[in-house]
């Protein structure tokens, strides 16, 4: 028993890799999940819409 417990504790010593901590941080993932599409798709798209020039005059 005591041995096993010590083993588990030893395991706990081993640090969790940073990437794993990142993947486990749902709120951080949430932030990126909202930010990326909002900026790359929506905001960029809206910027292009407001920059559309007016129809120039043509003489056919």
């Amino acid at each position: 028993m005591a041995d096993e417990e010590r083993k588990i504790e030893e395991q706990e010593e081993e640090p969790i890799p940073a990437w794993q901590l990142f993947y486990d941080n749902i709120m951080l993932l949430f932030f990126f999940g909202v930010a990326v599409p909002t900026l790359v798709y929506t905001v960029w798209g809206l910027m292009e819409i407001v920059q559309i020039p007016d129809l120039p005059s043509y003489s056919p």
């Binding site: 993947y23 993932l29 949430f30 909202v34 798709y41």
Partner: protein, 501 residues
């Protein structure tokens, strides 16, 4: 206590979570029934030798088919998965069950609003309702109420996992199934936020409080709602695949890192693919189109390829552990093909990959899109993703929920065991028929491809008739299999033999 222990899985099941799952599943199935009925009617209308409905009803039922099948069935089922993965799977409780019931009621009320208005002929705008096409204000109100309900329901996921961690239900990492639903819930928030941003002004415009809405902006933001809602489905579907593999075969992800990376790539990049609806729209620059339609350099497609590797691999490993190790493929032969939860999942993976996924990546390429946009090819493509893929995966999952959550055995198990195959074949015929006809230019959302009453008439390649007949026959088969599904699920929920506690 409000907990019981499931005799099949050993999971500790919280009574309020169980009730929420039951009601959401049953409601989902009822709306699938309605959506499927509409699918039958429009399907046989587009079958040239039948051409059943007149145009008013064709467009009306097409509106309802899109809304009920694509949004209502799928999102109600996903809410059931929210509670399943954030409470049941973690052996913990659903916090504030009343919030779950409020979400449920809002979604139901919103869906009923939309259905009644559309049946009454006040919203023949198809589910995309592109402005300046105008529906009654009640329609948009219904959509908004539904979306608020859905947002509340997905918010519940986060509340549950935060509480679960506090209660020590998990230490560091969510189980992979729950992690997949976390991805789904994050995407849902993006989706429903876009929905609010565009549907509220549209409502105000429809009742005259706003004079003008820009049609280009509407399409941009609408697809920030319409497309990501498909990505919720993808995440939820993949999560269901992993879970069925684990429940039925005892399979475990061969590499958690690989599978989770794929979900993280979904969270970051999959939503921008909304762009593929806008590839031949005016306004957007080539770079906006390229970066977005490629899911930021195809990283989300890469993620799908990872799942396509990891799930069959986990099935193989599990079956080999059971001793089916002869040759390369004994494990595949000995898989539980008679179990509809397994066969449905397997067919969903195949169909999603080959029918839906590949065709989607092709049609979503800027240049190819010119020769596919708004043709029947697109409708064929997404019946591959959202019907053969998501719908079949959810059907398969609901066969598991019967004993686990409803505590009932399946009635008519024989019929249930062939249902996934029939549905797969039927919808594949629908999908392939549509894609073939679309490749020859047949438009989607079109009542009459002989153009009766038009000043000029165009004649399609004669093979189109054959492809549309394949679609028509597929429609009959798919609807037949759909009826079996509904009868088995509703019948089992009401009359199935109770399983021993």
């Amino acid at each position: 206590m409000e907990f019981r222990t499931c005799s099949f899985t050993g999971l500790k099941i919280h009574k309020p979570a169980e009730d929420l799952i039951k009601w959401n599943v049953i409601t989902a199935v009822l709306f699938l029934t309605l959506g499927g009925l509409m699918g039958l009617l429009i399907g046989i209308t587009r079958w040239p030798s039948v051409h059943y409905l007149d145009p008013t009803y064709y467009y009306r039922y097409l509106t309802l088919h899109g809304f009920d099948a694509l949004l209502v069935w799928i999102i109600f089922f996903e809410v059931a998965l929210v509670h399943f993965t954030s409470a049941v799977l973690l052996n913990t409780r659903t916090v504030i069950p009343s919030a779950g019931w409020i979400a449920y009621s809002l979604m139901l009320i919103g869906a009923i609003f939309v259905n009644i208005t559309t049946f009454a002929g006040k919203a023949d705008v198809l589910f995309t309702s592109y402005v300046p096409l105008k529906a009654s204000g009640v329609y948009y109100t219904g959509v908004i109420i539904f979306a608020v309900g859905a947002l509340t329901a997905f918010g519940h996921f986060f509340a549950n996992i935060i509480q679960a961690k506090r209660d020590g239900a998990y230490k560091h990492s969510l189980p992979l199934g729950s992690f997949g639903m976390a991805a789904a819930s994050i995407i849902a928030v993006v989706t429903l936020a876009h929905g609010a941003v565009i549907m509220i002004p549209t409502l105000l415009w429809s009742i005259g409080l706003i004079k003008y809405l820009d049609p280009g902006t509407y399409r941009l933001i609408f697809w920030g709602l319409g497309h990501p809602s498909q990505q919720i489905n993808v995440c939820a579907m993949v999560a269901a695949w992993y879970m069925v593999s684990a429940f039925v075969l005892g399979g475990k992800p061969v590499n958690e890192k690989l599978s989770r990376t794929a979900f993280v790539l979904y969270i970051f990049f999959i939503n921008v693919a909304s762009e593929h609806h806008l590839l031949v729209d005016p306004i957007f620059s080539n770079w906006h189109k390229i970066i977005n339609t490629s899911y930021v350099m195809h990283l989300a497609v890469f993620a799908s390829m990872v799942h396509a590797f990891a799930i069959p691999a986990s099935m193989e490993v599990a079956l080999r552990e059971k001793g089916y190790t002869n040759g390369l493929f004994e494990w595949l032969k000995k898989a539980p093909w008679g179990n509809p939860a397994f066969s449905g999942t397997f067919l969903s993976i195949i169909g999603f990959g080959f029918l839906g996924g590949t065709t989607g990546v092709i049609a979503g390429t800027e240049q190819f899109n010119i020769i596919r946009h708004n043709t029947f090819f697109i409708t064929g493509h997404f019946h591959g993703t959202v019907v053969v893929g998501t719908t079949l995966a959810f059907m398969a999952f609901s066969y598991l929920l019967m004993p686990y959550i409803f505590k009932r055995e399946l009635i008519m198990p024989r019929l249930a065991s062939v249902q996934p195959y029939l549905y797969f074949i039927g919808v594949s015929m629908v999908s392939i028929g549509m894609m073939a006809a679309g490749a020859l230019g047949v438009p989607r959302r079109h009542w009459d491809i002989t153009f009766s009453g038009a000043p000029f008439s165009f004649t399609f390649d004669p093979s189109v008739d054959m492809f549309l007949s394949i679609m028509g026959l597929g429609t009959l088969l798919a609807v037949f299999a759909g009826v079996i599904y509904v009868v088995v699920i509703i019948g089992s929920a009401l009359f199935g033999r109770r399983v021993a506690p």
